[in-house]
Structure formats: structure tokens, C-alpha cells
């Protein structure tokens, strides 16, 4: 919890700091109990691990790689006048980058197996 130096709690103010400590302890206990209850009743389900959800997610990763590759290739074409080689090679490298994205999302940082 964040500590605030501002005005103390209404109930605790009149009774002095010792009763406030007791109140804080009680709150900590209640919080711990509530969190334990929650952990028991619902499993840690931050991202639904449905097959469709994962499929969509990986599809977006793959397509984004191809799009980024084609975009960079097209820019190279425009800047250096290499048409059509930039976009062809960019497309292929982009496909590889898409697979790299999918691999990283599956096994690397931020994947379901790690985080």
C-alpha cells in the first residue's frame, strides 16, 4: 500500500498512533484473507487461454511481420529505386520475422509459459 503523510484516518486520529497501527494490522489481515479467498475461488485467468484467442493472437503476430517487411521493402524501393527487389525480399524477410514473432510470443518474454 502507498503511504500518505497527509491527514490521518478519521477514526484513528483521535485515539493516537497505537490504535492506528492496530487498525493497519487488522486491515492487512483482512486484505490477506480476501486475496487468499480470491485466489482460491478463481484461478489466475488474466488472458483466457482459449484456442481461438491464441490462434487470433498468433495470426496477428504473423500478419504484422509480413506487413512490416513489405512496408520496409517498399520504402527501400522508393528511396533507392530498386523496384521491385526491395518489396520481394522485404516480403520474404517479413514472413520470417512473422514466424519469429510467433515463436517469441509462444516461448519468449511475455509468453504464457514464462510470465
Amino acid at each position: 500500500m502507498v503511504n500518505f503523510s497527509g491527514d490521518p484516518h478519521k477514526r484513528g486520529a483521535s485515539k493516537g498512533s497505537s490504535s492506528q497501527d492496530a487498525q493497519l494490522d487488522q486491515l492487512a489481515k483482512r486484505l490477506k484473507r480476501a486475496q487468499a479467498d480470491q485466489a482460491a475461488t478463481r484461478p489466475d485467468q488474466r488472458e483466457p487461454d482459449t484456442a481461438m484467442g491464441r490462434g487470433l493472437q498468433m495470426g496477428v503476430e504473423l500478419v504484422a511481420g509480413v506487413l512490416a517487411g513489405a512496408l520496409l521493402g517498399w520504402l527501400v524501393d522508393r528511396w533507392f529505386g530498386l523496384s521491385p527487389w526491395g518489396i520481394i525480399i522485404g516480403f520474404m524477410l517479413g514472413t520470417a520475422a512473422g514466424f519469429l514473432n510467433v515463436y517469441r510470443r509462444s516461448f519468449g518474454a511475455g509468453s504464457d509459459t514464462e510470465s
Binding site: 490521518p8 484516518h9 478519521k10 488472458e47 503476430e61 500478419v63 517487411g69 524477410l93 520475422a97
Partner: protein
């Protein structure tokens, strides 16, 4: 029956133009302002009478903040504390827009790729700026895979790494946009079934219960998706920030 795409139409409320650009105050702008107002009232209202032992409202605000702080610490490490305000602002804005979009008749700001792409580009630029500010030109080592021959790196792996890096804002933008758009189209399609079956009469009206039940379930699912996509947006941002902060 109205088209299921009608809900995404941008209507200008106060028309305005500046230097040839249309800068009208639209329904999209309106709902962004509403989202900002809701966040401000929620956070300022909860923390204005802040006490050591939080009340219900303050505890709610703190739990949001704690959630983002934990995410930053988990993904970026101790250095992540400096980026909590940015992550918190991003998360709260996306969350508020997504959830407010669930109100019937409202406008879902995040269902437009212009909005999600702008947010994604913002994240991308901030990652670049932080990366170069902290590591200078050494930041480019992010694209240099270790343990493979240099010739292979230059010809194949570095271009792939660069493309993969550039594809990040695209992923970020498409994910949020696609999820919000698909969900809202689905809701409207089933709502259309309810009306057309309802007015058909006879047995059809009875069958109309089915899409209604479906829509009730979908609404709950979409609320979940709205929260999860806000979480995923902040999570991916923190993962990208980690690359810029801690070069590996």
C-alpha cells in the same frame, strides 16, 4: 435493420477546419473526453481524501495503481518504477474507452484503427527515445543476435530482427482494434436477429429468445475482452519498454 457497421460511423458534432484539415469535434472526440472525465473523477475523487487506511474508493484506485506497478516491476525490474505513470495512463485510457464502449448507444473509441495506431506509434516512439537516451548508439545491439556467424547476421538475421521490431506497433494496433470491432459487430448482428425474428410472428418470435440469450452472454464476454485487451496493451508496452531499458 440498420447495418452492424453503423455504430462505427464518425459524426461531427462541432464542425471545424484548420489549414485544410478537418478538426471537427466528433462523437469519437466526445467519448474520449468522457473517458478522460471518468478517469479523472475516479482517481482524483478517490485520492483527494487519501488516508493511511484506505476507504473503499481509495482502495479501488490503489488496486489499479498497484496492478500496473506490479506489472512494471515484473517485466522491467526495479527500473520500471519510472515508467509506471506512462503505463498507468495508457492502461486507464484504453480500459475506460473499451468499457465505456459497452454502454448501448455509446461510441467505442478503440474500435477505430486510427486511434489504436496512434497509441501504438506513441509507444513505439517512446521505446525508441528511451532506448537511444539510455544506451545511445549501443541500442542497435538489440538487433544483433549473439552466437551466430557475423556474415549470417548482416545478411539475414539483422534485417529480420529489424522487421520484427517494426512489426510491434502494427501488432499492438491491430490486436486492440480487431478485438473491439469484432466483438461489437457480433453484438449488433445478434441484436439484428432478435428484431427480425421478433417481428416475424408465430414460431419465429419464440425462436427469437435464442439470439437474445446469446447477446446476454456475449455482453459479459465483451466486458471481459474489454478489460483483457487493456491489460494486454499495457503488458505488451511494458515488455517493449523492457527491451529499451535493459538491453540484453
Amino acid at each position: 435493420v440498420a447495418s452492424p457497421l453503423e455504430q462505427f460511423e464518425i459524426k461531427s458534432i462541432i464542425p471545424a477546419a484548420l489549414g485544410g484539415f478537418d478538426i471537427s469535434f466528433t462523437n469519437s472526440s466526445l467519448w474520449m473526453v468522457i473517458a478522460l472525465t471518468v478517469i479523472t473523477v475516479f482517481v482524483v475523487g478517490g485520492m483527494s481524501r487519501a488516508t493511511v487506511i484506505p476507504g473503499r474508493w481509495q482502495a479501488a484506485v490503489e488496486s489499479f495503481y498497484d496492478f500496473i506497478r506490479g506489472m512494471a516491476h515484473e517485466n522491467i525490474g526495479p527500473e520500471g518504477r519510472r515508467y509506471v505513470p506512462f503505463l498507468f495512463a495508457l492502461f486507464m485510457f484504453v480500459l475506460a474507452c473499451n468499457v465505456l464502449g459497452m454502454i448501448p448507444g455509446s461510441f467505442t473509441v478503440t474500435s477505430h484503427i486510427a486511434v489504436t495506431a496512434a497509441l501504438a506509434v506513441l509507444v513505439f516512439l517512446i521505446v525508441l527515445i528511451i532506448g537511444f537516451a539510455r544506451h545511445g548508439l549501443h541500442f542497435f545491439s538489440l538487433f544483433w543476435p549473439k552466437g551466430s556467424p557475423a556474415i549470417l547476421n548482416v545478411l539475414l538475421l539483422v534485417p529480420i530482427e529489424i522487421i520484427s521490431f517494426v512489426s510491434r506497433p502494427i501488432t499492438l494496433a491491430i490486436r486492440l482494434f480487431a478485438n473491439m470491432t469484432a466483438g461489437h459487430v457480433l453484438l449488433k448482428v445478434f441484436a439484428g436477429f432478435i428484431i427480425s425474428l421478433g417481428v416475424a410472428g408465430g414460431w419465429y418470435t419464440a425462436v427469437g429468445i435464442l439470439p437474445l440469450a446469446m447477446n446476454v452472454a456475449l455482453t459479459a464476454l465483451e466486458l471481459l475482452v474489454a478489460c483483457i485487451q487493456a491489460y494486454v496493451f499495457a503488458l505488451l508496452t511494458s515488455i517493449y519498454l523492457n527491451d529499451a531499458v535493459n538491453l540484453h
